[in-house]
Amino acid sequence: MTIDWQAFWLTLQLAITVSAILLVLGLPVAYWIAFSGWRWKFLVEAVVALPIVLPPTVLGFYVLVALGPRSPLGRWWIALTGHTLAFTFSGLVIGSILYSLPFAVQPFAASFAGVDRKLTAASATLGASPLRTFFRVIAPLSIPGLITGTALSFAHTMGEFGVVLMVGGNIPGVTRTVSIDIFDRAQASDYAAANETALLLLAFSFVVLAVVYGVNRKAWVIGPVK
């Protein structure tokens, strides 16, 4: 038995899709968390952080029920496309976005909040709109946080297991990710193959994280903070 490359590419595709979507979705959410003065903001922060503490099986269970034909959301999707979202790649993407949300949003928000208020104030006095200030001042100064958040959501999705197990249905090439493949092989006592694939995932994850943190370190050095 050798490595299931199909599962590996599928997982990579899932992780890239999810981290890209989270980069886009996470920006406004993180901006709001960083700068909103709303009194009950902490409740939103708690909701965003929930996937960190919730067992993935709980998340997966809710996603499965929400995607199924018994829920309004599921019915709407079925009417639209003719099939349920469970057991599809899109279904995995939705589950993974929820699952990895805090890993993107929290570093984003922390780096936004860390930007010197004097700079944003100066930008505003010079007549820049909040949006322009965000893209010209806040975002460039937050690049390390953006890289960290994107890398963490990428890596977190690569290693996702419980949610995929609950909503995936283990379809080769569609929902059988590397972690599911490793689990299957271990369950079938095929330790040699489980070992090989696990080692590949370990090495890959390490390289990705090492590269990201390496790049990030340089970004800190060249950052325009004086």
């Binding site: 018994r70 003719g82 469970a86 249905g169 283990n170 379809i171 299957d184």
Partner: protein, 248 residues
């Protein structure tokens, strides 16, 4: 069942039996265990999963006393590896495979049987993972026997064990599924679906065996419980929950 945690253990005289059991037994064994506890004061703790997955856990030292498999091969495998006591092997039941659809489904499964799987409304068909669940292998065998496997192969979704396969159809995410008769007649699914008995000649018989495990510290008590399984009271419950008896 036994919901009290370990710290109460010191006070009880009888030891706690930890039983690993195939997922198709989830209802029947629960009730049998409850009856046994009431009768003898023993404590039974149940852990359900796919037989292959449980076998793998046992081989890696999981602290089970007794193993109820959904086939005979896994117990034999454990015996051969020295992880189970060969003399204790007992075939306690024969499982049955059914094709199950939700009750509001337009599929006429009772009359058309497996042909309903070719209906365009069937997008996903749930089965247990054939890699480590005997019911999954039975489902694949039945599909091949009916000459349908190649046509539906790309619509199969795999549950981690037969209970998850049942849950996939029960939740409506799959439109049909091969589940254990034990699930179809279990209280939590009764009335929610309609099913078709897959004819016995479509798949190798699901003879199910139980063994006492070598690492058990309570072999005597485990053998006693296994003895109870052989009695009429227990076998009637197994029959009630969709199993047939080997001798019948």
């Amino acid at each position: 069942m036994c919901t009290t945690a370990g710290w109460a253990q010191e006070k009880t005289s009888s030891p706690e039996l930890v039983v690993a059991a195939a997922a198709d037994l989830s209802t029947a064994l629960q009730e049998i265990g409850d009856n046994y506890e009431r009768k003898t004061g023993a404590k039974i703790k149940l852990s359900f999963g796919a037989s292959g997955a449980l076998t793998q856990q046992i081989q890696n030292g999981a602290p089970f006393d007794l193993f109820f498999s959904a086939d005979m091969d896994y117990p034999r495998q454990l015996i051969a590896a020295g992880d189970a006591d060969g003399a204790s092997l007992y075939q306690y039941a024969v499982g049955k495979l059914v094709l199950w659809v939700p009750v509001d489904s337009s599929l006429d499964v009772a009359h058309k049987g497996m042909d309903v799987l070719l209906d365009p409304s069937v997008k996903k068909i749930a089965i247990a993972n054939p890699q480590h669940a005997p019911y999954g292998r039975a489902a694949v065998a039945a599909l091949k026997h009916a000459g349908l496997y190649d046509q539906v192969n790309d619509r199969l979704v795999l549950g981690e064990n037969i209970s998850q396969a049942a849950q996939f159809v029960e939740s409506g995410n799959a439109q049909a599924g091969f589940v254990a008769l034990a699930h179809a007649v279990a209280p939590f699914m009764r009335g929610k679906g309609k099913y078709w008995d897959v004819p016995a000649e479509f798949y190798p018989p699901l003879a199910q065996g139980a063994v006492v495990l070598s690492h058990s510290q309570h072999k005597k008590e485990a053998a006693d419980f296994l003895q109870y399984i052989k009695m009429k009271e227990a076998s009637e419950l197994l029959r009630k929950y969709g199993f047939t008896m080997p001798q019948s």
